[in-house]
């Protein structure tokens, strides 16, 4: 039997090795993915980079979304090259006042930009900030239907229903509200308060239409969410803070189960000590 165990060991080792290689390659892909993703391609103009990375919230013309995402066009703070560069590389949270209005949402750090890219984007932002506050061709912000369905949003969030274009289910990385006993994943932030943080209906919809977070952009740039899906998810996330979270109390059922298992294994270990008696041993004992 030992050789079998050895072979099993070899197989286990090779499986672990393979698993390690897969994990490593995933890490490498994630680490290099953002720099090689199209949104930060070399030779891209400041306008293109802005559109890819910033326009989701701040809109193409820099007009922002009133009450949710601050405008860049005509924003005096956005004329400061250094300040803009810091905000882009580090992100920004906390309340700020822009053009008489208070904005309190979160901007993630934009990762994977080369120095040249950063300069190009900063240049474009400063250009927008110094330009007309009312752009010539204001773009219509993408507006999802007003009312989404909470249950459909829940199903989309946990992956019960697939996204039409094949995007990854939210629960792969996030948890939010009540998504079952085990909750969602803890890889990404808990989205329970996302609705409020990202500025309610309009802000969250804009965010989801073109997610600017570095890990989400490569996934959802090719597989965007549809308007209906966005509406459902927004409805679900808006409702999330009101949902009952599974309690973090001690789970006595689990503890009783583990204790019972140990008692069972212990009982079997006592009842069947050592290897079973062979037939020859039985014959010997008969003598």
């Amino acid at each position: 039997m030992h050789r079998r165990r050895q072979r099993g060991g070899e197989r286990l080792r090779s499986t672990l090795l393979l698993f390690g290689l897969v994990v490593m390659s995933v890490f490498v892909a994630v680490a290099t993915g953002s720099s090689s993703s199209p949104i930060a391609a070399q030779d891209a103009s400041g306008a293109d980079l802005y559109e890819a990375n910033c326009a989701g919230c701040h809109q193409v013309g820099g007009e922002g979304i009133p009450g949710t995402f601050p405008p860049l066009a005509g924003n005096p703070a956005a004329t400061d090259t250094e300040y803009v560069a810091v905000v882009i590389t580090d992100g920004k949270t906390g309340a700020i006042e822009v053009l008489g209005e208070t904005y309190d949402s979160a901007m993630p750090a934009v990762g994977g930009l080369s120095d040249d890219d950063l300069d190009a984007i900063v240049g474009h932002v400063v250009e927008l900030a110094g330009g007309e506050s009312e752009p010539d061709t204001p773009t219509e912000p993408v507006g999802p239907p007003e009312s989404g369905d909470i249950d459909s949003g829940h199903d989309l969030f946990i992956g019960q229903d697939r996204f039409d274009d094949g995007g990854t289910a939210c629960a792969s990385c996030h948890t939010a509200g009540e998504v079952g006993n085990l909750g969602g994943s803890s890889l990404g932030p808990d989205l329970t308060g996302a609705y409020e943080l990202l500025g309610g209906q309009a802000g969250l919809s804009a965010w989801l239409a073109n997610p600017p977070a570095p890990t989400m952009t490569p996934i959802f740039s090719d597989r965007p969410l549809t308007d209906d899906e966005i509406a459902d998810l927004v409805a679900f996330l808006a409702d999330a803070p009101n949902q009952d979270r599974p309690s973090n109390d001690v789970d006595w059922f689990l503890i009783a189960g583990i204790a019972g298992l140990l008692v069972l294994i212990g009982g079997m270990a006592i009842a069947w000590r050592g290897p079973r008696r062979t037939y020859v041993e039985t014959l010997r004992s008969k003598r």
């Binding site: 039997m1 079998r4 062979t278 037939y279 020859v280 014959l283 008969k286």
Partner: protein, 503 residues
């Protein structure tokens, strides 16, 4: 009547010298592989003894074969259908490695590397699996030639019913007796390994009745290992599949006898075709114990009977096979002369390998340092003819092995063998056959022609007499699939791929 053909082997135990050449031929050909070290598709056991795996006949322990329930229906001893599901992941009746043996070799290096000393160096046995030193206490042939061993021989289940006085005598050192019992898969008509298999991986070939394990379908449940009362299915721990004797079908398909039979030094093995009536399988296997053997022998059809021949042709049996069945030495031994029986018919699997029971010397006593045979002087020439109860190997024991305890059947066969021997001795030593001998022959139901036939088949058969191999016409079945000439110059037909470990 549904006629089918069965390739059968017959073992003439009176000729077996227990040399194990058959086992080695089989081992070298089929089971010299990782995971198959402990498999002996062919093994030779010393009887009385507990055989291999140890105590395989103890069905209370190993739960092989069939039983007849109170309503007269046939049931597996192992489990019911529901019980099979319940025990799917733990089968307590499964023999373990130690019930077989830890396959071993010897640490030969010690013979060369030991420092100079007063004593001869010895090579200790080490396990071929763990490489650790072993203390061997059982295994195939561990009790070889130990007819009186107080562990193995004393616990032979077939000794049940043997008179206690006889048993005590058998354990006396001067009276120890043993014979050999070579065993392969019995390729039963009603295989319980097949019935026990949850994956449906075991099947009985239609053309020759060989029972095979489909290595592609086998999922390693090992219910066949338990289900077979003869313990002739083995689990290969390397491939995760079960394996068994294949009756050397690749050899038979090319007209050769199985390797064990071909290599037999004592020429005890015979091969031939039997035709049987498949309609009777279920009913005859479910009869009460005392009717089992007759029912099984009745299933074997007379290949000369025109009705049988017509039915055989209708069932698609090839003319060459019918012809082989007519010349089959097995048919002669089993049906014409009635000298051979299957091993343990009470297991109800309708085993199709047959055995001619062995003769043994007469009991003797020692008087004044002289061995005195327990036979009256005037009948000395006729040996045990009238005194078979005094044979050293108790008839009850042989009857427990071959005839469900009916010792009269064994007595009849042994008397036939003695009569042939006496007749031929008169003929070759005295030159005249006296009246007493002729009377004797008539008494056991033989004619002089039969005596000659039995003698020539027993003592002077040629290879072609012993092995009447039917034509398999593999070339014809190959033609049905494709052009046989495409395989010209290559080795063998088709390809062999090793079985992969199951999921």
């Amino acid at each position: 009547m549904r006629v089918r053909a069965q390739m059968s082997m017959l073992f003439h135990l009176d000729k077996c010298i227990g040399c194990h050449t058959c086992s080695v031929a089989c081992k070298n050909l089929w089971t010299d592989r990782d995971g198959a070290e402990y498999m002996w598709w062919n093994n030779v056991e010393t009887r009385p003894g507990t055989g291999y795996p140890t105590g395989w006949e103890d069905q209370e322990h190993y739960k092989g074969g069939w039983q007849r329930d109170k309503k007269g229906r046939l049931k597996l001893v192992l489990h019911s259908k529901g019980g099979g599901v319940a025990k799917a992941f733990f089968n307590p009746a499964l023999p373990e490695l130690n019930d077989y043996y830890d396959p071993f070799t010897f640490q030969y290096g010690d013979l060369f590397n030991s420092p100079p000393s007063e004593q001869q160096p010895t090579a200790i046995p080490i396990s071929k699996i763990t490489g650790q030193p072993l203390e061997i206490s059982s295994g195939p042939n561990w009790d070889d030639d130990l007819g009186g061993s107080d562990i193995f021989a004393a616990n032979d289940p077939s000794m049940e019913g043997v008179d206690d006085v006889v048993r005590a005598q058998m354990e006396e050192i001067e009276r120890v007796v043993f014979n050999y019992l070579p065993r392969i898969c019995n390729h039963c008509l009603n295989p319980s390994c097949l019935a026990a298999c949850p994956s449906g991986a075991i099947y009985k070939r239609e053309e020759d009745g060989i029972v095979l394990v489909n290595e592609e379908k086998c999922r390693g449940w090992r219910m066949c290992v338990s289900g077979c009362p003869y313990k002739k299915v083995y689990y290969n721990w390397n491939t995760g599949k079960s394996e068994k004797c294949i009756l050397c079908f690749p050899r038979m398909e090319t007209g050769q006898a199985p390797a064990c039979a071909h290599s037999c030094v004592g020429r005890i093995r015979y091969m031939g075709v039997l035709l049987y009536d498949a309609d009777k399988i279920a009913s005859s296997a479910a009869l009460p114990d005392d009717e089992l053997l007759d029912a099984q022998l009745d299933m074997i059809l007379d290949p000369h009977d025109p009705q049988v021949i017509t039915a055989a042709r209708a069932a698609g049996i090839d003319e060459g096979w019918i012809d082989s069945a007519q010349r089959s030495p097995i048919y002669k031994f089993v049906k014409v002369w009635g000298m051979a029986f299957p091993l343990h018919p009470e297991y109800r699997t309708e085993a199709m390998m047959f055995y001619v029971p062995p003769l043994s010397p007469v009991m003797s006593s020692i008087e004044q340092n002289m061995i005195k045979l327990d036979i009256p002087d005037e009948r000395r020439d006729f040996e045990l003819m009238d005194e078979l109860d005094k044979a050293r190997m108790p008839l009850e024991y042989l009857a427990n092995l071959f005839t469900v305890g009916d010792s009269d059947r064994i007595r009849r066969v042994l008397r036939i063998m003695l009569a042939v021997r006496t007749y031929k001795r008169r003929q070759s030593v005295d030159g005249v056959i006296d009246e007493a001998t002729l009377e004797l022959i008539e008494e056991v139901g033989l004619t002089e022609n039969m005596v000659e036939a039995i003698y020539s088949m027993t003592t002077t058969p040629t290879v072609d007499d012993r092995f009447v191999m039917p034509p398999y016409h593999r070339e014809m079945s190959l033609e049905a699939i494709g052009d046989p000439l495409t395989a010209k110059g290559s080795t063998g037909f088709g390809t062999i791929k090793p079985p992969r470990r199951g999921p």
